[in-house]
């Protein structure tokens, strides 16, 4: 099997990595690019903890080959917000107590960001449906939904 240099666009920056063909995006992000905000939960697409945005769409990085994301824009939790200013979702998740252990939080925030970017004013039902693939074991989702609703109600961000 061959290894090659692949340049990925991660959080707006070109990142060149020597990678084997069978590397998943999750492995490259965590092990090669040290972007450990993206979490490893089940490795099989069943928990949602590894979600990142590819061209603004949340996908499970444990199921995606890194090479297949070569010509796309990858956004991880570290890439949200504007420089030192956090994304309003990050602030809201903090203020609403939407994170307890915090392990599902980055993927949850990422997923919510895609929802708000693609949807003017999501209903509670829309929010539940959007995060249905993101398992959280601590919060019962209640404060997560409240946090997302609060940002949604602020209008486009």
């Amino acid at each position: 099997m061959s290894e090659r240099i692949v340049t990925l666009s991660v959080n707006g920056e070109p990142r060149s990595v020597i990678m084997p063909d069978n590397a998943t995006l999750l492995e490259i992000l965590r092990d090669h690019l040290e972007l450990t905000g993206t979490k490893h939960g089940c490795d099989l697409g069943e928990c949602g903890a590894c979600a990142v945005l590819v061209d603004g769409v949340p996908v499970l990085s444990c199921l995606v080959l890194a090479r297949d994301t070569e010509d796309h824009q990858i956004t991880t939790i570290e890439g949200l917000g504007n420089g030192a200013a956090p994304d309003p979702l990050q602030v809201a998740f903090a203020e609403f107590g939407a994170a307890q252990c915090g392990y599902c939080t980055p993927a949850m925030v990422i997923t919510a960001r895609a929802l708000l970017d693609g949807h003017g004013s999501p209903s509670e039902e829309d929010i539940r449906a959007a995060i249905a693939g993101n398992l959280c074991r601590c919060t019962g989702y209640i404060k997560i939904i409240e946090a997302i609703e609060s940002v949604a109600s602020m209008g486009p961000t």
């Binding site: 965590r30 092990d31 040290e34 972007l35 450990t36 905000g37 993206t38 979490k39 490893h40 939960g41 089940c42 490795d43 099989l44 069943e46 928990c47 903890a49 991880t76 939790i77 570290e78 949200l80 917000g81 956090p86 979702l89 990050q90 602030v91 998740f93 903090a94 203020e95 107590g97 939407a98 994170a99 307890q100 252990c101 915090g102 392990y103 599902c104 939080t105 980055p106 925030v109 929010i127 539940r128 449906a129 995060i131 249905a132 693939g133 993101n134 398992l135 959280c136 074991r137 601590c138 919060t139 019962g140 989702y141 209640i142 404060k143 997560i144 939904i145």
Partner: protein
């Protein structure tokens, strides 16, 4: 103008909340020291076998394999409880469940490590395995622990308080039921991970996703033979605990040993499958419960038998066994009580402590049986509960000291909020409402290993600029213990939470806390923090008082100022006060500690269940049940919880909502289940934890009974709210469709089976039919406290 002095009782985000939402928290699996080796465990494919021979030659020869160890490299037995020292880090002579670690490898890459695992040759000699409670208790099978064949009994207990038979004989009504609570597991989103490194000076450092750095520290000391001071255990922020990271684990010990042997850092992160084998989750418990009632509904006596399927090792199981019998008495006044229990060994992954350790199972039984009794007696379920409540500041028949209790208020408030009286028995077919209550400890009264030292210590250091650092070994597992410490200290010192630095969970840096289990941290570490903060406060006030020539009692510490009460412009700033104090007294640091009062009753086994305070909860569940599919949709949950004092209502609500969530999952979906020796589905597809689509709105009601011994009156909230949820669901299902499901989880196939049986005019119940034939030990009779006994 000094801002009003409010920290306790304020809604405040966790101190690390922004780190969490920005993905900046470094969990154990995010630790990657230079040159770190990848660790992997070889696991047994057999449920029960002798390990005849292990040959690692071929694996060792593989390029990139740096270290391999087997059971012989770690031949010291350990276990979390001193009375259950029955584990080896790697199986020594015998494997006792499918998935038990047999060998460990450290290699330069995961690919190499995995290839090497396949090259390790292990010769097993399989033996008959014990796979069910009945097999363990009724059949002669090879012993899991010990030689030869026999009954695989781990531990049994028989206690009687008062005269149960006498009281039952004179009871107006007797309810007798069998319930089965199938086991389930924690399923934290974070898989266990540990990284060890070993310095040339002989210092071992282990960073682990553990709830109990102190117990891991002690275990490493024992198994590796290193002096305590040569081991540093760091509890990384835990990505979900729930009791699943409360034992010392094979991968932690293997990481440490391999780091020592190779001189390189070694990291193990378990796969999701391995987490299901590592387990230590909720015990499956079969229960027989017989309760007597007077004509007006007073409980006269309870006879309870529990049969626990413990899996292959002890873990916390002896405590779990006793817990199944201990905490029924903290909610309802039981005048006469007999408890017989047995924990069996079976060839399955070991069970252990999960949120509510040993108490959700009997709580399910009691609360469902009370509803059955309420029908038989013609007494409303709420009234029946209210008339049997334990009084605050009383004692239970099994000698548990009760202090504050807001249970009555909890019940009244959920009943009112949910309009229970108007709905119960009156909703349209297919919709139902149910109620149940619960109670949990605010920390186990005794440490796991016997000692006279404090259960928690906190140190506070104040620097010359007035900066405050609070040090505690308490491990934050998501419950917010670090923020809790900050709340207590900030409130006491008149500072803001965010002014403080917190150093936690590090055995080198922080004074002892026994760990994040048994809901002990707010009560015990919180009290220790309050003690330390009080010492700092007193020291500063006394120095400032001397300087200002005012009585210390007239000084106030608030808004980062020290001033004469009533005159906020007087006095000086916090940092000036600190500098004055250091100039006067030298380094400004203080320690505080907590030890629970002596609470044990006059009998062996009384150490389990005692606690300095008990939390109380009441829950109402409203649901719809589809008669055709058996699917249950939870519409709304009301949960009132007596937390003593909500130090931070935001975090208290979060714990309540999370407890409801986990309870609903246990009630309807979750089961750690086996087909023979094999797990039915070690994945998050097969092990079904609820998604956002299953979670109903929850109305949380915080009740504050102001416990006299809790820090600012606080009690626990991490575990208690889960307990009433499960029986409330079962009771609501009965209200909805008229059948009783006496087995958890209440899956749709059971609901439909009960409905089909009822349609045919047969039983309207789905549940276990009997209990194993097991001879309990001779009953130890304990004189109940004054006021109990046959009435």
């Amino acid at each position: 103008m000094v801002s009003p002095h409010l920290v306790v009782g304020e809604r405040h985000p966790r101190l690390d909340a922004m780190d969490q939402t920005r993905g900046a928290v470094i969990y154990a699996d995010d630790v990657a020291p230079p040159g770190v080796l990848v660790g992997r465990l070889l696991r047994s494919p057999h449920a029960h076998a002798s390990v005849v021979r292990i040959d690692t030659t071929h694996a060792q020869a593989l390029d990139g394999v740096i270290g391999i160890i087997t059971g012989e490299d770690l031949p010291t037995r350990y276990g979390i409880l001193p009375i259950s020292q029955d584990e080896y880090a790697l199986a020594l002579d015998t494997v006792r469940y499918v998935g038990e670690p047999v060998a460990a490898i450290a290699a330069t890459s995961a690919t190499v490590a995995e290839r090497a695992l396949a090259l390790i040759e292990v010769e097993y000699e399989a033996m008959a395995s014990t796979l069910s409670l009945r097999a363990a208790l009724e059949e002669e099978l090879p012993l899991l622990h010990g030689d030869g064949v026999g009954r695989n009994v781990h531990r049994s207990v028989a206690l009687e308080f008062g005269d149960v038979d006498g009281a039952l004989r004179s009871s107006h009504h007797i309810e007798e039921d069998v319930f089965f609570f199938r086991g389930n597991t924690h399923a934290a989103l974070e898989a266990h991970s540990a990284t060890a490194s070993y310095s040339p000076q002989g210092k071992l450092t282990l960073t682990s996703s553990t709830q109990v750095p102190h117990y891991v520290h002690r275990t490493l000391e024992k198994v590796l033979g290193l002096p305590s001071g040569k081991i540093r255990v760091i509890a990384a922020p835990v990505g979900g605990g729930f009791g699943g990271k409360t034992d010392p684990f094979s991968h932690e010990i293997a990481a440490a040993k391999l780091a020592m042997l190779t001189g390189r850092p070694v990291k193990f992160t378990l796969s999701r499958e391995e987490v299901f084998y590592t387990h230590r989750g909720r015990h499956p418990v079969l229960m027989w419960l017989k309760t007597g009632f007077s004509a007006d509904g007073n409980i006269t006596a309870v006879h309870f038998r529990s049969f626990l399927d413990g899996g292959a090792y002890g873990s916390y199981g002896v405590a779990t066994l006793y817990y199944t019998g201990a905490l029924q008495a903290t909610t309802y006044r039981i005048p006469n009580y007999r408890f017989e229990g047995v924990r069996a060994f079976t060839n399955k992954p070991p069970c252990g402590p999960k949120r509510g350790n040993g108490t959700p199972q009997p709580r399910f039984a009691i609360e469902c049986q009370l509803d059955k009794a309420s029908e038989a007696l013609g007494i409303d379920p709420v009234a029946l509960r209210l008339r049997n409540l334990v009084e605050p500041y009383s004692s239970t028949v099994n000698h548990l000291r009760i202090t504050s209790s807001g249970l009555k208020e909890c019940i009244e408030r959920v009943v009112a909020a949910s309009d229970f009286d108007a709905r119960h028995g009156r909703l349209a077919d297919g919709r139902g409402i149910g109620i149940a209550v619960g109670s949990y400890m605010s920390g186990a009264g005794l440490p796991i290993y016997w000692n006279d030292m404090p259960q928690s210590e906190v140190e506070i250091r104040v620097d010359r600029g007035g900066g405050v650092t609070v040090l505690s070994m308490a491990a934050d597992i998501g419950q917010g213990s670090t923020s809790m410490l900050a709340t207590v200290v900030a409130h006491r010192l008149g500072l803001r939470m965010e002014d403080l630095n917190l150093v936690t969970g590090d055995t080198d840096l922080t004074p002892i806390d026994l760990g994040s289990y048994s809901s002990r941290v707010t009560f015990m570490a919180g009290n220790a923090a309050l003690d330390a903060a009080t010492a700092v406060r007193q020291q500063i006030l006394s120095v400032v008082g001397r300087k200002l020539e005012v009585d210390v009692a007239d000084l106030e510490l608030a808004g980062a100022r020290v001033f004469v009460r009533g005159d906020e412009e007087s006095g000086m700033s916090w940092s000036e006060a600190v500098q004055l104090t250091i100039a006067s007294d030298g380094p400004l640091l203080a320690t505080g500690s907590y030890r629970a009062p002596e609470l044990a009753g006059p009998y062996r086994g009384s150490g389990v269940g005692i606690s300095p305070a008990y939390s109380y909860s009441a829950c109402v569940v409203l649901l719809a049940c589809d008669r055709d599919t058996g699917m249950v949709e939870i519409e709304r949950v009301w949960l009132a919880h007596d937390v003593g004092k909500a130090l931070n209502p935001l975090l208290v609500e979060g714990q309540i909502e999370g407890g409801v969530y986990m309870g609903l999952g246990e009630a309807l979906f979750e089961e750690q289940s086996f087909r023979g020796a094999h797990h039915r589905g070690p994945s998050l597809l097969d092990y079904k934890i609820p998604t956002a689509l299953e979670m109903p709105p929850v109305e949380t009601i915080i009740v504050e009974s102001d416990d006299p011994e809790g820090p600012y009156g606080a009690k626990e909230v991490g575990q208690g709210p889960l307990l009433p949820v499960i029986p409330a669901v079962a009771n609501a299902i009965h209200d909805a469709i008229g059948v009783r499901i006496d087995e958890v989880p209440i899956t749709p196939d059971k609901v439909v089976a009960a409905l089909r049986s009822a349609e045919r005019g047969r039983s309207t119940r789905f549940g276990p039919s009997g209990v194993p034939a097991f001879e309990f030990p001779e009953i130890t009779r304990v004189e109940p406290p004054v006021g109990f006994g046959v009435t």
